[in-house]
Symmetry: C2
Subunit: 144 residues, 2 copies
């Protein structure tokens, strides 16, 4: 392997053009890249759970709050704004009284959520192995 090129292993995942560097344009490993911020919105503590919840269908604010157990109003509001700004969530407000607002994934958001859920389900599925590993670790090392 080429020792002088640290990114030599990268291959274009879904490159559209013939440009071989297209997949490096938004390298999340680079500190200043905007993709890192977006990735954090998606994978963050509440962002990931919110996207996961919305993948099952459109939900209202307080429905979401109950579904994403433990999230505060403030954090849910903040999370939804970020995801809406990134174009992953659509906010549908009806000017009725009392007000009714529905949140749903955009087409792009749905694609993100699918990949995210593949990861989430896999982790859930392998929790027994993880729990085993944690026990072994805690026994031999300090109890964390």
């Amino acid at each position: 392997m080429d020792e002088t090129s640290p990114r030599s292993a990268r291959k274009g995942a879904t490159a559209v053009e013939g440009d071989p560097d297209a997949d490096l344009a938004f390298d999340v490993f680079a500190k200043a890249c905007p993709s890192r911020r977006t990735l954090e919105d998606v994978t963050g503590r509440w962002g990931s759970l919110t996207l996961g919840a919305l993948h099952e269908g459109s939900l209202r604010f307080n429905e979401l709050r109950r579904r994403v157990d433990g999230v505060s109003e403030k954090m849910l509001s903040q999370t939804l704004h970020s995801l809406e700004r990134d174009g992953l969530v659509h906010r549908e407000a009806q000017p009725t009284n009392p007000p009714r607002v529905d949140y749903e994934l955009t087409p792009l958001g749905r694609e993100v959520a699918e990949r995210l859920l593949a990861l989430i389900h896999f982790v859930e599925d392998r929790m027994p192995s993880v729990l085993d590993a944690q026990q072994s670790y805690d026994v031999t090392r300090g109890t964390r």
Copy 2:
């Protein structure tokens, strides 16, 4: 659709047994579930980048530090401990002088990293759309 059953949409992703509730045992949407903690280790700011970096091959501590641009010694150390405890990363220390320690993914870690990278690469790939959405949002709303 069954309005009374909020989890009705869930399907077993990689269910091994015939138990239909096997995929609910470690539900990440429940506040107290240990899977949520593990998911945060995996998707967290530094955890995700560390797993991503190690997917390309075994790396030493300072190699990792350079690869994951912006991480501090403290955070990298902490992150590696968490991932090792979860059984996703293996630490190979050689008692030489100067010391040499290599970090590499375990088989389980590799499976996690694959799903994680699918998400990361997708986000990187769609950054132009995300950036567009952000611009539209910032124009119509306040500048965040």
